[in-house]
């Protein structure tokens, strides 16, 4: 099975949620897909799709089920943490915006289907230090908070706008402020692209979000500000439609979303089939300053795919070749790394 075929298989399993009828999967196909599902955080979702098939009693299905159980508990523990984090920050007069993770997990049929690890909080740059201090206090250190200095993906909008469109959710009796639905869908799409479409579950997030859009979803606001980003988000929703079968007919973006650049689907499938380690879990490049063994493989691993390269260089989603964008992205990254070199060298010596 080629990587693209493997990616197609993953897409087929995930998409079973939105297709009528039981998922038709052979034991061999499950054997191919299960390790990837486990590696990429999609095991619980995979279990949901096969638990009503004749594969449900196989050892591999059992592994997926175990992951589902573990994720269910993990999410429950994280929910406690999130409530504690918000209560703690609010007691200090701080009110962050939360995104991704639990915010999208709660839209899944069961929260355990969407594992998440850290608590993504987005704060104004001018308040970042206050948040950092608050999260360094005793009792707060055990929380796994990913504190974002601003909201990079949404920085074509003001933080005032983001707050104005934000909404409150209740978790264990604590109010949790999150992005508005429009901003959050935009965040999910742009994050998926920026990370090079690495995780099928991130596209599943978008599918779940689109599938649960309320009738009063403000498409004008969703598509406002930077038009290139707006086009990227439409294409991401189109990708969810194309690969996962999410219905977009009747949506104002449907026409563009059904007309995707020709490299987008194959790139995504190949990435999924490769099962690469997401950016955040790679070994630090700085580590190779001390021990260069493996640096070639690490560089090869960092060769940007067409999606992350296009987004990284702020390129258009059209049918032009992607190589120039990939080269451009490499130059950008290398420049950023070179700028850090003096600091890294002094740190490693």
């Amino acid at each position: 099975m080629t990587k693209t075929q493997l990616g197609q298989l993953i897409a087929r399993i995930i998409a079973a949620e939105w297709h009528a009828g039981a998922l038709a999967l052979s034991a061999e196909e499950l054997a191919q897909a299960a390790p990837l599902l486990l590696n990429l955080g999609g095991a619980a979702w995979g279990w949901r799709q096969i638990r009503n098939t004749n594969l449900k009693d196989t050892p591999l299905a059992h592994e997926l089920q175990q992951a589902y159980r573990l994720h269910t508990l993990h999410v429950a523990v994280k929910e406690m943490e999130i409530a504690q984090v918000f209560a703690h920050l609010r007691s200090q007069g701080l009110e962050p915006l939360m995104g991704k993770g639990w915010v999208i997990a709660r839209q899944y049929p069961e929260p355990g289907l969407r594992p998440f690890g850290d608590i993504d909080l987005y704060v104004r740059t001018e308040e970042f230090a206050r948040y950092k201090n608050a999260l360094q206090q005793p009792g707060a250190k055990s929380w796994v908070v990913d504190l974002h200095n601003g909201a990079a993906e949404l920085n074509d909008r003001s933080f005032d706008d983001l707050y104005a469109h934000s909404r409150m959710l209740t978790l264990n009796g604590v109010s949790v402020r999150t992005f508005g639905l429009e901003d959050h869908l935009r965040l999910l799409c742009l994050h998926f692209l920026r990370e090079g479409a690495m995780r099928p579950l991130w596209l599943c997030d978008i599918a779940v979000a689109v599938n649960t859009l309320p009738a009063d979803f403000d498409w004008d606001y969703f598509l406002s500000a930077d038009q290139r980003r707006a086009d990227w988000t439409i294409c991401t929703i189109g990708l969810a439609h194309h690969l996962l079968g999410v219905r977009i007919e009747g949506l104002p973006i449907a026409r563009r979303a059904m007309n995707l650049p020709r490299w987008l689907v194959p790139t995504t499938l190949k990435v999924w089939g490769e099962g690469k380690v997401p950016h955040g879990r790679r070994k630090l490049m700085a580590a190779f300053l001390r021990n260069p063994a493996g640096v070639v493989a690490a560089l090869r691993e960092r060769w940007p795919n067409a999606i992350e390269a296009t987004v990284g260089t702020k390129g258009p989603f059209n049918n032009w070749p992607r190589l120039p964008f990939q080269l451009g992205e490499c130059i950008l990254r290398t420049t950023a790394f070179a700028r850090q070199m003096p600091k890294l060298i002094s740190k490693s010596s």
Binding site: Q66, L73, M80, W143
Partner: protein
Amino acid sequence: MSGQSLPIGGVDVRPRARTNDLVIRELPDEELVYDLKTHNACCLNKSAAMVWKHCDGQLTISEIQQLLSRELHPEIDEDWVCQALRQLSQKNLLEAPVLIEKFSRRQAMRKLGRAAVLAPLITAIIVPTAQAGNTCVGQACSPSGINGVDCPCTRCCGREGSPTSSAPRVCQLFQALPPTNPCNADCMCLSDNCIRPPDPNPWTCA
């Protein structure tokens, strides 16, 4: 859990379910329990969950058996309940463990007769081959290399209890790591938070 064990057989044995430091999630056919103290996760099948639910510190084993014989299956006897209590004790899910005379599972099944299909069962939740999403929990690991961690499944490597305890290092659900270690979804840093320096570097404890 208190150190006192309850003897089996007496009419005064009234097992009480532990409630502190546990995260519990009910699913349609089972109950999932995560122990915040030991970081162990287990799954109670429907029968075990029902026994556990009736362990309120008021009911005797005999009374629990009578309740379950009405709710679950008429052939459920005290041995069946004891089988569940023994497992609950082993998993630290009772305030005080109930000491139960050892008998094999096969013996127990034979005694249970038709009710054997409803045998109480508590299993640990472990995902052996996965490499992400908290899935190497419990596996032995050792710190090494420039990144300071070498978990068999690329996860964090730490000790039961606190990071400074003398317990052997294992991969854990929740992990504390010192500064400069790469961190991710399931790691905590000792000194600060998991932050992301400018690309292409990954998340790092700062």
